[in-house]
Symmetry: C2
Subunit: 317 residues, 2 copies
């Protein structure tokens, strides 16, 4: 009776953290595709998710015994209060700091996954300078990261997985994108297009070959998501693609070439190309587009370095 | 140069299909927890996602060569036109029908994943009867399913994975839920509660031991998502839980006991319990609650039958 296998986890989603006067991000290695050099971190705002894995809280499920349940409300308090002690300057460093503290505080937690998304704010532009105290909430693309922690045989916290990302980029290129020579059959109504107004929504993710690149206070090997965003924009502007597939492959190769410290890059690209209504008779590049049919294409790519150096040990924290 | 490993897929998301006068769903096996007996399917409305896997369209990524790319626009046309030929009465049967047709039509597709979510409509209630032609859009919980197809060594389509579900249930139980005896430490501010107004958002998923239960036109072994919903509501109403963990475990066991044809059930339950403002002095059960802090608990459980019978072959279609 009731002899089932259980896979369990629980936690808190969406913990809002507004830490002011965090350490500025400096010392990152510049790349030619981006003018990004760092960030003041005066307002360091994000949402954090906590997910706990393990077996010792199984009696909460099977018997209603909560003695090994850290209330998710307490997890929220823990994250908020510990954020005051954070001395780093990146969202990944914050996750590492919190993961370490969670595992050293709660023996009840065997494994923990922390995920965060930035709540982007930029300094308000004043006539002469950027404000240092007033910030404007932005609702475009944003940075994300997720990290898994466990204990090694010496009970020391280790990172077992990580992924960084930039989500919900929205980029519209008015000319310089094709889609032709695809399969033609009785279900084909789409015309071939030598030039189309390519509008994509893009999520990009990356992992490091050696996650210790994220552990050092020195940011020489750190890849800022703003640099990734700028490189992607640079490639999109320049590259005449035959499809979104072609475009994301080019973006991925350029990212792996530019950042030798990365092991993988992943793209999810949605096709939101607009529909043509009318073009000006005299000046052909002047056109009116409108919203397309609601179904949209979705293109996925993960590129991984094939070399051996790709395998790294789980780093002790 | 550019010697990277590629993982690729592409497809169409959100294809809206409104098929009218589909076959009614009949012959399902009733359960004591539910009065659900079937559905007319006069308006069979859903959104469909198509995702194609394989290697032969890799040149689209690496070289901009689209000769093996079935345009996602054609996939959309294919789904819409084939929906006219559908003779089944469940969303799973529609996915199987479409998966089979896709693989027999397009040699370019090596594997395909189809996902759907119902767009729920219910018959408008007239004074004397339910309308047979007017339907009211509902925006609550809904049915979902996802299915993976490939070809076997004889080039016949087979199902390699499936999952059914009911998503976004929202259930508020005003009394009869506890949360006590959890870990107490310096981060604990939550009071112990013998009775709380438990409000959850719930996604539930299930798989069959033998997916051929979904293939037969006879629905004796079919689990209607309305039955799952009703059983879950029945258990929630009756069971005094010590936590959401405790509650979903009870729901899961009751589902596996009631439906011996199921192999697994999975729950994602969000805690949206409301905050108490004030209780009436004389009649203590009269209270006012308001919305809680925006972070919310999230409880996960997968229950699997441990018996051997759990392993089934990939069924030929
Ligand atoms: C417009 N369009 C389709 O219909 N399919 C596809 C595809 O696979 N890739 C594209 O870049 N565009 C496109
Ligand atoms: C209110 N609450 C928490 O803070 N944590 C938890 C938990 O793990 N489970 C609950 O049912 N409720 C709850």
């Amino acid at each position: 009776h009731r002899n089932y296998r259980c896979t369990i986890s629980y936690g808190k989603l969406n913990i809002p953290v507004y830490r002011v006067y965090a350490q500025p991000l400096t010392n990152i290695t510049p790349i030619p595709e981006s003018r990004f050099k760092g960030r003041p971190n005066t307002l360091f705002a994000l949402l954090i998710d906590v997910e706990v894995f393990g077996n010792n809280f199984l009696p909460a499920y099977t018997e209603g015994d909560n003695r090994n349940v850290v209330a998710t409300d307490s997890m929220k308090n823990f994250v908020l209060r510990q954020a005051l002690n954070f001395e780093g300057s990146t969202i990944e460093a914050l996750l590492i700091f919190l993961g370490q503290r969670f595992l050293s505080t709660y023996t009840q937690m065997e494994q923990i996954r922390l995920t965060t998304r930035e709540l982007p704010f930029s300094p308000a532009q004043l006539p002469e300078k950027a404000s240092t105290i007033l910030f404007r909430r932005e609702h475009g693309d944003f940075t994300t990261a997720t990290m898994d922690f466990t204990r090694d045989t010496n009970q020391q916290p280790v990172i077992t997985a990580h992924q960084c990302g930039r989500l919900q980029m929205e980029l519209f290129k008015v000319t310089g994108s094709a889609f032709t020579h695809f399969v033609q059959d009785e279900y084909t109504t789409l015309p071939e297009r030598m030039d189309r107004p390519l509008f994509i929504r893009l999520n990009v993710y990356w992992t490091y070959t050696d996650v210790t690149s994220l552990l050092t206070p020195d940011h020489a090997a750190y890849v800022a998501s703003e640099q990734v965003r700028d490189l992607i924009q640079f490639v999109f502007d320049e590259f005449v693609s035959e499809s979104i597939q072609h475009l994301v492959y080019e973006m991925g190769c350029r990212l792996l070439e530019r950042f030798p410290q990365l092991a993988t890059v992943t793209f999810d690209a949605q096709n939101h190309t607009r529909d043509l209504v009318v073009a000006a008779q005299e000046e052909e590049q002047i056109k009116v587009y409108t919203d397309p049919f609601t179904a949209f294409g979705n293109i996925h790519l993960t590129l991984s370095r094939t070399s051996e150096e790709n395998q790294s040990e789980e780093p002790r924290l």
